[in-house]
């Protein structure tokens, strides 16, 4: 049964393994999780129903995470979701660029449950007790 108050999270990554790992962790934190394997697909999911949180890879075919973020922030309702980049890009320049484009948090891969939970707490969609 899906409760009407249930939180939603979209995981965008071209790796099925990463999507599966992230989904497993995020579901235990009480989210309903959807998946997309590139930016184009993610925009379609968002157009159908805007999620509360988006976990976003950077390097993907068709439309990368950065282009998706820019497009989403222009779209109707697109400023609402909290966006957490989740990428192997780990230099200061990339992080600063992502934040300027409107990302709320930034995860450098590899990540684990602690990091993902901490970052979701950081953006205020998970409360410490839930972890």
């Amino acid at each position: 049964m899906t409760l009407p108050t249930e939180k939603t999270c979209l995981v965008v990554d071209d790796s099925a393994v990463i999507r599966k790992v992230a989904r497993r962790i995020i579901e235990t934190l009480g989210f309903t999780v959807s998946e997309a394997e590139d930016g184009n697909e993610a925009l379609k999911v968002c157009a159908a129903a805007m999620p509360e949180v988006i976990l976003l890879d950077w390097t993907m075919p068709n439309m990368d995470g950065y282009a998706f973020l820019q497009a989403l922030r222009q779209a109707p309702g697109g400023t609402a979701p909290k966006i957490l980049f989740c990428t192997t890009e780990n230099d200061v320049g990339a992080i600063a660029r992502a934040l300027r484009a409107g990302a709320d948090e930034y995860i450098m891969k590899p990540f684990d449950r602690d990091i993902l939970t901490a970052k979701l707490e950081q953006v205020g969609v998970v409360h410490a007790d839930a972890a």
């Binding site: 992080i95 600063a96 684990d112 990091i115 901490a118 950081q122 410490a128």
Partner: protein
């Protein structure tokens, strides 16, 4: 390390220290225990586990437990104690010390530095309000090894992602290869010293705020009581002591009492005729951010 070896270590640590490791903490076991292997001449974690199973080498046993427990820390750990500092303790201490414009903070089990540096970041963020104030952070730990790491302020990508907002990572750290070093100005705010809490610490003086979190859990009740009594003696009259979530003063000392509202916060019992300390901000307002 095989699954069986890992399970053995989990059970071993649980029994000896109460530490409960989840299956995902494999990387932590590997990164913490590899140096222990080297120190005790074991070629691999597998060999170390084998040695633990058959030997009575208490030094090695202790090294394994210490490596896995005493340094378990991250930036803004548990968050609430730091929200309390920013929203309640700091404003209150500033009001009380407005005349002398001097604050003393002690992190009594500072481990690799994340706790004192988290406080240093909050103080830096409040720098405008604190202009003209002398704020001292004393950070102590039993282990000289972790103090050296704390002084250096160099953290792995894993460490800087647990609890530290990315904005502050960019603002206060410098990337060095795969690691991140906290800036020199924040490092200079913390005075690190080696102290064993079992021995005297009166020489450090008195403090307005003392963080002593997740260390008492490793001691038996008489030792806990002894340390708490001496912490009370080191606490300024209106000072605040913060303990870990699993720790308390109840049943151990009557020289400290829990704050009526804020979990984890302790102070001197309110003496007859003395006004209650003005720590009355509702918890909800503190927790929401």
């Amino acid at each position: 390390m095989t699954e069986l070896d890992f399970d053995y270590l989990r059970a071993y640590l649980k029994q000896r220290s109460g530490l409960a490791l989840t299956a995902e903490k494999r990387y932590l076991v590997e990164s913490r225990l590899t140096p222990v292997c080297r120190r005790f001449g074991q070629a691999s974690l597998r060999d170390l586990v084998g040695a633990l199973k058959i030997s009575r080498d208490t030094a090695m046993e202790r090294a394994v437990v210490e490596a896995m427990t005493t340094n378990e820390t991250f930036f803004f750990r548990d968050r609430l104690p730091f929200d309390l500092f920013r929203d309640v303790l700091l404003p209150q201490a500033m009001a009380q010390a407005a005349g002398r414009r001097r604050l003393r903070i002690w992190c009594a089990a500072s481990s690799t530095g994340q706790e004192p540096y988290s406080l240093a970041i909050l103080l830096q963020e409040a720098a405008a309000k604190l202009a003209g104030w002398h704020v001292e952070i004393v950070a102590t730990d039993l282990s000289t090894e972790v103090i050296e790491k704390a002084r250096l302020g160099l953290y792995s990508q894993f460490e800087v992602q647990r609890g530290l907002p990315v904005q502050w990572l960019l603002k206060y750290f410098t990337q060095i290869g795969e690691q991140w070093q906290i800036g020199a100005s924040l490092r200079s705010m913390v005075d690190y010293r080696q102290i064993n809490l079992l021995n005297g610490f009166e020489a450090l003086g008195t403090f307005d705020v003392i963080y002593c979190r997740n260390v008492l859990i490793y001691f038996d009740a008489p030792t806990k009581a002894d340390i708490l009594n001496r912490l009370a003696a080191s606490l300024a009259p209106d000072g605040a002591l913060l303990l870990g979530a699993a720790e308390t003063v109840i049943g151990l000392t009557d020289r400290l009492s829990p704050h009526p509202i804020h979990r984890g916060l302790y102070g001197h019992p309110v003496a007859a005729g003395r006004a209650a300390p003005p720590m009355t901000l509702p918890l909800r307002a503190v927790a929401a951010r």
